[in-house]
Homo-oligomer: 409 residues x 4
């Protein structure tokens, strides 16, 4: 594993735990932890349960004992490590974002596809997909439980930048972080909206905003929520803290998206709602063990959103855990991810989300940025596609799209 921060803690817990609750064809061993700062690295390795450490990530790639490389570093290093790992025949779990640019992502996706032919597996860490409620939502939508999709609504609301005196961090520096709310949390709802709906986003119109453009330098105490050093000069924030965009999926369906760190009081409100012709599903990660399901075909008088506790044996992943009504937590999403990855490796199948799927998310992010820079003009996500016309007037647009949809019902 490369990287030992917050993601390192979550991933190593998952590697230690997955085979304790799931029947896996292989049993993971935590071999080597890699990182830059020797002392912190050694402490982390002991804490996380790794056998050894190295400050050279290349050592992992070169170690014949190692089968899987788990990349938990910041996005700007993903490309180099992942490409080397795939070339060396290692299975790769790469945290999102796949890379900091579409170009790098595309190369990684191509490399992963090629590696797959050699039996090498790769997966990008959109771990929220493994929330039982969301995996179940996808299943329901695929089974037709909401009918024809009418609208998609996705929000990722946080609040830790609401305070104008919250300190500057590397996450707010475009050179280091690549992107702000859009790339960090917006990427998750893009992935989920596409995955649950079974549709790709084709065009977008959006705006990025930096509501608080300067912040005090971080003082000694530097956690989220505290104040920065108010005595010194304020530093420039160079990424967005709010991202709003409208998307058209390739079916013609509209989706509205919001990623923000200015939603005072919303701690981790990652919400997805799909409205269809015969039903809806709604989810909020602040209540991650619940899925709200609306069935418009139920008896008149008895229709409403049903709050399902997704802790029943029928729900994805739930049977491996506790009795009904005993909820799961955030880190279970990672444990499920590792379980699925190990199973895929053992069974010789490709796990998802593939690098190709992650590339599609990357393209959407890039299109939103470009649209924002261009006055919220509608832009196509796939540069190789013919010029999109999503921005044409709604009547002509929909009179082309929807009737054909209806014909196929």
């Amino acid at each position: 594993m490369v990287g030992y921060g917050f993601m390192g803690a979550a991933h190593s817990h998952a590697w230690r735990t997955a085979h304790r609750f799931f029947d896996l064809p292989l049993t993971p061993v935590l071999r080597t932890l890699s990182g830059r700062t020797e002392s912190a690295l050694v402490a982390a390795a002991e804490r996380y349960g790794f056998e050894q450490t190295t400050t050279r990530w290349q050592d992992l790639v070169e170690d014949p004992e190692i089968d899987v490389i788990d990349i938990c570093t910041p996005g700007d290093t993903h490309f180099e490590i992942a490409m080397a790992a795939l070339a060396a025949g290692k299975h790769v779990l790469c945290e999102k974002p796949l890379a900091n640019s579409v170009e790098e992502s595309a190369k990684m996706a191509a490399a992963a596809t090629e590696a797959s032919r050699r039996g090498i597996r790769s997966i990008c860490g959109f771990s929220y997909r493994r929330t039982p409620a969301l995996a179940y939502a996808r299943q329901l939508v695929a089974e037709g439980a909401v009918g024809e999709i009418r609208q998609v609504r996705a929000q990722y609301l946080q609040d830790w930048l609401s305070d104008a005196d919250a300190p500057m961090t590397w996450r707010l520096d475009k050179d280091k972080a690549g992107s702000g709310a859009l790339g960090d949390i917006g990427a998750h709802i893009i992935d989920l909206a596409q995955w649950i709906s079974g549709q790709d986003i084709a065009t977008v119109s959006g705006i990025l905003e930096t509501v608080v453009p300067t912040r005090p330098a971080a003082g000694d105490m530097q956690g989220l929520g505290g104040k920065g050093d108010l005595s010194g000069e304020r530093q420039q924030v160079t990424v967005d803290d709010v991202a709003l965009f409208t998307a058209r999926f390739d079916s013609g369906v509209l989706g509205s998206f919001e990623a923000t760190r200015m939603a005072q009081g919303r701690k981790n409100a990652m919400r997805v709602e799909i409205n269809g012709s015969t039903g809806s599903i709604a989810f909020d990660f602040e209540r991650m063990n619940e899925l709200e399901i609306y069935d418009a075909t139920a008896d008149a008088g008895r229709q409403g959103f049903t709050r399902v506790l997704t802790t029943e044996p029928e729900h994805p992943y739930a049977a491996a855990w506790w009795p009904t009504g005993h909820g799961l937590g955030y880190e279970h999403t990672f444990t499920h991810e590792i379980a699925d990855l190990v199973r895929a490796i053992g069974e010789g199948t490709d796990p998802s989300p593939s690098f190709e799927e992650a590339l599609q998310v990357q393209r959407v992010l890039a299109a939103v940025e470009a649209s924002s820079a261009d006055g919220s003009r509608w832009l196509g996500v796939d540069p190789s596609a013919p010029e999109t016309t999503a921005q044409t007037s709604q009547t002509s647009q929909t009179s082309q799209t929807t009737p054909s949809q209806e014909r196929t019902r």
Copy 2:
């Protein structure tokens, strides 16, 4: 009163009821009900408690006994009736939308301003403002309870058009209705967002959509929710059923708006959320007796959204009604509107929302429509203002706006 449909029922209830619960300087008398179809009109007058009827609305304008004219007809008739009434020195309550065009609305606003100098009062029926929770939200925001506003989020979600076989109605015909979801329900959240935040919308970028472009003709049974005549030809829907737009308020704050009739399972989810630097408020009309308040200055560990039942004596309008915890319903918003209007007439003050405020809403609606027709380009709301630049890149925009906001805190 002109018009005896759904709004006529709500208004006449309010006229009969307001002085029974509020101390008013004047006591309303329901004199004449006007409408087009004689038999239905007579039945409605008896049901609603009017003394007499007429099929000529001009009779009301000419009747010296009548002090107030309440216009509950479709939007395309508002202009003519309201202008005549104001000219004749009648106080006017005009249902929203003020008119079907900005031009007519502007003339009405000018006429109302002029009439006010003669002691004639006018008010536009954005009755949701009189929901105690929303009136209290405005008060809290004005008192600084959320600090500096960071974001506005407003949705009006309904679902009665989710079924592609719900029948065609005049509301879906642009010639008659003027607008679809945007004008009918979007207008409410535009008004509320501006009123609660105390800020006007300056520019917008939006898209209107007709998700289901053809519908069966209405059969004999024609209520919401039923099926149309599936045997005949389908008719063209000429208004939007989904409207999505992003707005920039004159302070620079961004707001996201959605009005839809495709949100399966959402019956009347009119939601407003204001996020600020030190707090938030959130509301959903499906739970109209509740306001959610977040206070970021509360003790660490005890912060969260507080669900306030707005039935305490401290809440607007609530003291006139029942003991705490005994909720109010939809029609109370109208009763409060009438109470405020009668009080304003008696006291010789101008009630709100004024026609001028309603005109501002109308301008926003028109700008959204224009933006949608122009590829979601950012457009200014006030045509007399210098060319807006909201669509410029976010960094320059916000580095101009926000520091000055911060200076004034």
Copy 3:
């Protein structure tokens, strides 16, 4: 109408409003308001819309123009007025409690039964039954939606006595009020639990408690929530402020009941939950437009409590009001009560709750009081019934009861 307090306001609103929204065979006229204090009476009559007033309630009984007498006075006067009214051939609406003793209640029930033979109708004001969600709950249970009932759970939680310095009032004086939380709010959940389940309570074991036994005298300002006169001596509270009891219904089902004014933060949390073999229903008056329904026969994985907004045309009373999702308020329960009463009078049928049903509630109240005074011993509700054996060990009890229930399924 006799009495012009809070209940007088609610009832007169209902009398004025019912025929405006419901098709009734008769149109109510508010003839005479009776009360003790001349000046307040006259003001109330004007406010409520009565034609005339009298300080002698006997005048109403003697007035041949009057068909219905609505009794909104404190419980100790109900017996005399209702008996006189029935004797004089007036239809009677009597607020709950029917009377302050079982003896009086029994005589009133007998008189009502006898009067019914002469075409005279009587009804006791358990108005919460007319909450659409609760009327719908009864319908669902009767249709078998929850299967065989397993348990009943009912709470009425308020908080206005939590503060030990809330002032003494007549409601806390046993001589005047008859009972405390038990009789005032507990009576409602007893009535609802019996009505919705379709079963009578047979035996009870309970305890009454006065958590704060002395209170300051009321000062000048005397509303709920304020402080009493803290300078003077404290007065003795002689009724309960908390009542807890367990009940066994005549089918053998157990129910748990709580009525309290010490539940800090609960404003009007009147809650009823029925658990059955195949489903459950749950209700909280703080969200009076919602009913939660659980269906254990739904597809595995999709089971959960469904939040139904009871504003659909399929829900009792709802079709008379507004479009779906537009909620009703507290006073609608009274309007529905009057509508049903007027319809019953017009159609010559007996409305419910009858005085007989109210007598059953009274008997339960008396049994709870007696049980509390006797160390929470199990006591039968019906004194004419053979000695009850509810307190025998559970195994023998249930082995007698439940198998026979199961045989009849």
Copy 4:
């Protein structure tokens, strides 16, 4: 560790995980797993990560390498194992119930007290105490956040016995299980109510019920939720499936308790609510990451239940885990328990809940059973205490108790 069932899985996960997230003075090693069935035992040991196995639990007691013995077996074996372990100088974690009788529990408590003098630690597994929201609730109550406690309300609602054809299991056989809903889930809310309120229960009046007295034998498939073998004879259930009781705490405060497996739709609704003179707290384990707090001293108009996500650094245990808003799950309660136990061992302090506290719970359970068998008569919990008088009439009772409480405020 002795026992490898559901609890064994939860405990071993906690032993493996605690030192990965908490700074502990000692690092646990999973030495030996003991159980009865060899093959299942070996599989479990591998799954859970134990070094070796034995079918003789005595081997653990005799092994000098072992410092801690974790008892996860059914209640009837606790006494023998724990006494032997303590005698051998092993620290003991004993699952609840401490034992199946008050007598055994008392001996174990005495042994634990004696062992403590030798530096041997013991703890009983009421793990729900380590839910962050509940640990925080206790802290708030202790700090006076709710003022003087007025009432306690506790429920543990499950539904897996609602179906009369759910199969017979050993849990429903009194000889094996000792108790039904009361002992299994009621014990948790008794412990929590006492722990959070800081008060012991002094007297109780209750009733136990077996709603479904016979059940089909378990067929091949035997999980919760399925049907038993409907072709054969039905077997007798000899424990309660519903337990209702009222308790008086030693301060005089009343509490109402319910433990049931008949609450259709409630999966794991362990609820605790404390109402006080100046505030309330409310919790439901189905939303275990939330605590509802009501502050009656907040500004008028802004009072309401605040939904706190207990994932902030200020909340007990939360800082060891993820960023704010990222919830924890059921098994975290065990991980926290192990962390606290290991820390106590390392620091030489006694962890809680002690065997003495567990004995108090056991006494309450026994008193409820005795009360149920004696017609719900009020019975004292502590047999050594003078005859209790809780069942005397409320006026005299409370006029004795409450004034003195008030004097001390």
